[in-house]
Amino acid sequence: MPVHEVAAADWLAEAERRREEGFGALTVLDGAAGLELRLLTAAGTELRLPLAALSAPSLGAVWPAVLVSERRLAEQFGIAFGEIAAGSGWLRKRVALAARNEVVWPGFKDPSDERGAPSRRKSLPLGVLADRTAVESGEVELR
């Protein structure tokens, strides 16, 4: 599957050039390098746009169907798409849910706690922090 990295200034023009390929999907990758917008055309081409700022041009004029995905990503990842305002971005990795961290998750407890044995638990519920030092250091933001 061909993959093309696109600069922010060329995002709209590149989509227009590929209009006939049809719209497939628009997703966001929240990786170690930051947020990256990934557009898949119906023909199978993938366009990637690294997001230096939390905004991107809307592709609604090229494919009206893309607006649904843009509205969803605006809310989930706090990205503004043209006239679509950025939402709270609650799904971003550096955002934890304040309400979920006001009380301690009951699943933190383990029968082996008394012995001081290391926990084998790897996963946490969405928005729950393993420790609050990430908030104090500014690495994670509570919303």
Binding site: P106, G107, K109, P111, S112, E114, R115
Partner: protein, 111 residues
Amino acid sequence: MIEQSGSPLRGVIALQAAACTSCMLCVRQCPTWCITLESHQEPDPNVPEGARTRLVNVLDEFEIDFARCMNCGICVDVCPFDALAWRATTDYDEPDRAGLVHDAEQLGGHW
């Protein structure tokens, strides 16, 4: 109304404490965080003589807050030892909020 449905009944969640191994699966899977479980580990008394000591989990306390429970039944489904089960009664309401937190003894009574 429940009696008329004829379908599997979701009345109250009951606990069979003897079957619970304190594996914490129900606690961690509960979407509303309404289950709390206290436990500790002890050497297994049933280990054959001369065998290496083995630790077993011992249940100290098990509570379900029925004010927060949304009757999804995930805890019943995930329990590997069927220590939790639905019982048809809905006769567990209380006049105050605190009364809806049922401890292991009350949950065992539903069994």
